[in-house]
Each structure stands twice: as C-alpha cells, then as structure tokens.
Amino acid sequence: MKKNCALLLATIVLNQGMRAGDPLRPNHRCCEEQPAGAYSANSIYQLDARWTNDDGASFALGQLRGRPVVLVMFYASCGYACPLLVADMARLREALPANVRPQVQFALVSFDVVRDTAASLKAYRDSRRLDAQWTLLHGDNNGVKELAALLGVNFRQEPDGSFSHSNVITILNAEGEIAHQRLGLQGPLDDSMKALVTAAARPGGAGASAQESSPAIQ
C-alpha cells in the first residue's frame, strides 16, 4: 500500500481523528425508518442543490435516479482535460454491451457557474454531437462546491477564469451511490465499464456493496 505523506502527517497531527467506527454506539446511524422513496444513505442524490440543464429547465440530480450514470465535472471552455474526459465517456458508451448501452445516462456538470449558461452548454452539446442520452448541467457556487466535495473532486478557479480540477469519471448506480471512480486520464476504462454493467443488472442499486466502490482522491 502506498504511504500517503499528507495523510500520515495529518494522522500524526490529529492523533485520534477519523475513527472508522464506534464500538459504543453500533449502528447509530442506521436507517431502518427511512421512508419509502427516500434516497439511500450513500446516495449523492441527497444533495439538495438545484441545477439547470441546457434547455434552461430546472434540474435535480435525483431525476437521474433509476438508471446508472456516468458523471463528470467539467467546464465547456476547458482546453485540455475536459475534452479528453468527454471523449472517454463516449468511448465508454461505445464499448458497452448493446443491451446495457441504452440504460446508461451520461451527465456533465460544469464548474463554471458564470460562463457555462444554458446557451453555452447547448452550443457545447451541438459541437460535440451529444444526443439525448447526455445531460448537461450548470448550477450555483454552493452546488458545485458540494457536489465536488461529495465526489472528491478538487478544483479551484484561476485568476484567468480557467479552472484547475481533478480528472475524475464517476459511475453512479441506479440509486446514485458511487459505484466506481476512475482517477486521472490514462487509466483503462474496463473497471468503469464493469461497474456500469453491474449497476445496470441491479436496477435497485442498493445491492452494489461498499466493497465494490472505491474512494475518490484518498
């Protein structure tokens, strides 16, 4: 296992921090009484941020519930990594088995709350020839920050208006739980595809266990 310098330092500093569980209060965060229709405990659809799609319509991420999702945070004017990420999403789509492909949704969520308006995203959709299987969203600062935090995506806006950001492709199962993440640009897409096939085979979503999911940056 790779030693993680920053984490090690932080662990020394915090010395009692980040305990995995609490033997005194087992299952204190149990969700037996979760009302029907509520999102599962790990569903990122619990995030209550509102988004707008490239038609200008209000959109909640929970509208993606029910089918697996390939989710990437990007910005339309990005000249380097984002086009590669979108190309990888398209490759992933082509590589999917024919019976799985129509079930999968592809979502792009912009970091750029100012320039990536509905019209810009619509132009992006047209220029990349993204069909109805793709959802393009922009939101407000809080929504972007909180979604990025949930996905483990680091980002910051540079003085020139561009964004520095982690390159992450996230696979969500039908419940909106993170089933897999590919970090970086060079990794193969095999694991992402497997996660999608698994997620598509289990439309309930809850079956995708924590063991299958991989944490983001750390």
Partner: protein
C-alpha cells in the same frame, strides 16, 4: 485617514466613525459598517499561498471581510442541531458526516462531560460546518482569508516576527489534542481581535479541497497533468512555514464528510451581505 481598525476601543471607534462620516460627506471615502456581533473586521491584505504554479502571483489579494472572534462552540452548535434535527448525531446522513460526528457529545442534544459548552465544537464535517454557517447567514472563510487572519501576531500584523506566538504555536503542535478542549474564550486575542486561530483546534475552510495535490508525495513533486487539469497542479516552492504546511497537509488529506477530535470551524461574512 488610516483605515478603521477593529481593535480600537469603542470611544476611539466612535471618534473614527465621526471622522469617517466627514470623509463620506466630502465624498472621499466610505467606512465599512460596524462588524456584526461577535465578529471582527479583517482588513484587506495579501495572502502568500504555500503552493503555487510558476505563473501564479506570489501574493493573492484578499478583500476585507468579517470573521468570528472565536471558533463555534459546543453551546453554539447545540442551538443549531436543536432547530435542525437532520444535523443531530443519529439523524445525519453518512454521506455528509462520518461515524465519529459529534461522538464526544453525550447524546443528540446533550453535550455531556466531554463537550463543555464553551469549548470549540469538534468532530464536525465540512458539510455540517457549512450548514451551520448558512443558518447564521454566514459562510466558511476561504483558505486565503483564514491564513490572512492567522498571519497576524499577538501585537502586530506580521505574526512571523512574533516569537511569543511561535512559542505558543509550536508548543501546541507538540502536544496531543486534550480529551476535553479548553474554553474558546480563554484563547489569546491576536492583533485583529481574533481568538484561537492558532493553538486551539484546526479549522475547516470553505475551499479545503482546492489544492491540486494528490497527497502522494512522489506525484506532488511535479506537474501531474493526468490527475489534474490546469495550472494549479504544481508543487510547493517555500517550505519554511512548518505550521502552514501542517494545515496544508491536513486540508489535502480531508474528505468533506470527515470529522476528527481536533477539527472545528468558525464563520466569516462578506462586508456587504
């Protein structure tokens, strides 16, 4: 006319306000309104980032802002969870706070012996800290704002020249976190009139996840264009400030749902809400 400084006494402040009013009338300058209760004005300044790309400026300008005098206490946070049950220990979603969230409290709305009312609240996630701040009509400070406020010494705006501050800070760094934290109000005021930024608990910042570092030391030594897109993905240039590196390491290693026994928060606000 010097800028109105928050550490002036009330009398002096009133006097300065009158002077300021004269300037406003004559159209020369406008004074910010008096700080909200329990906050102080941090005057505009420059933050020197620890990590920066070659083309990044050495200093980042920070606009004046208001900052809580002291970190949010257990008593403060109790008021929040009483009115916002979804942030109580047994109710919170595991997506937004991990298993040790508020675990030193005796119960959902019971502080108990390990969480004195006046001590800073810890075992708080970034999501919980943000939710509290929003409830207060505030927000979390940015890294630049927090570091600017913390760069002051006890007696002057340049903390790096303050030997007493350094002695206190490094003594604190060398000690393990006490099981029961001291009262936040006991921490010594710094030059701006802020308590406990250094030497009490670590604190969440809004953009804790903005550093383009992997936490993996080999990957951080150079530009990693695979993991990160953009000019921000470079290594550190200045390794002099050990405590600042500790903060950077901590922030870089955190996920937004993490909670720890020595990590709390305080709130900030823009001058014009």
């Amino acid at each position: 006319m010097p800028p109105l400084r928050p550490w002036l006494s009330h009398d002096k402040r009133r006097c300065a306000a009158w002077l300021g009013a004269l300037f406003v009338v004559s159209g020369l300058s406008a004074l910010p309104p008096a700080p909200p209760a329990d906050m102080v004005l941090i005057p505009a300044g420059n933050h020197t980032p620890l990590l920066r790309a070659q083309k990044d400026p050495a200093q980042v300008p920070v606009a004046a802002f208001y900052l809580d005098v002291q970190p949010v206490t257990n008593a403060d946070f109790l008021q929040f969870v009483l009115t916002h049950p979804r942030w109580q220990r047994s109710q919170v979603s595991q997506l937004f706070a991990d298993q040790s969230y508020l675990e030193h409290w005796a119960g959902n709305t019971d502080l108990g012996p390990h969480a004195p009312p006046g001590a800073p609240v810890v075992r708080i996630s970034w999501f919980a800290a943000r939710a509290y701040a929003r409830w207060q009509g505030k927000r979390l400070p940015t890294i630049a704002e927090w570091e600017l406020a913390a760069s002051a010494g006890y007696d002057g705006p340049e903390g790096k020249n303050d030997a007493t501050l350094h002695r206190d800070l490094y003594q604190w760094l060398a000690r393990p976190t006490p099981a029961i934290l001291p009262d936040a109000a006991m921490a010594r005021l710094n030059f701006y009139g802020v308590r406990g930024l250094l030497g009490l608990v670590w604190e969440w910042v809004d953009d804790f996840n903005s550093a383009m570092v992997t936490g993996e030391s080999r990957a951080d030594t150079g530009l990693d264009r695979s993991l990160y897109c953009g000019s921000g993905s470079v290594g550190a240039k200045d390794t002099g400030d050990y405590a600042a590196f500790m903060r950077l390491a901590l922030r870089s290693s955190l996920r937004a749902s993490n909670t720890t026994s020595s990590l709390g928060f305080r709130c900030a606000r823009d001058l014009s809400p």
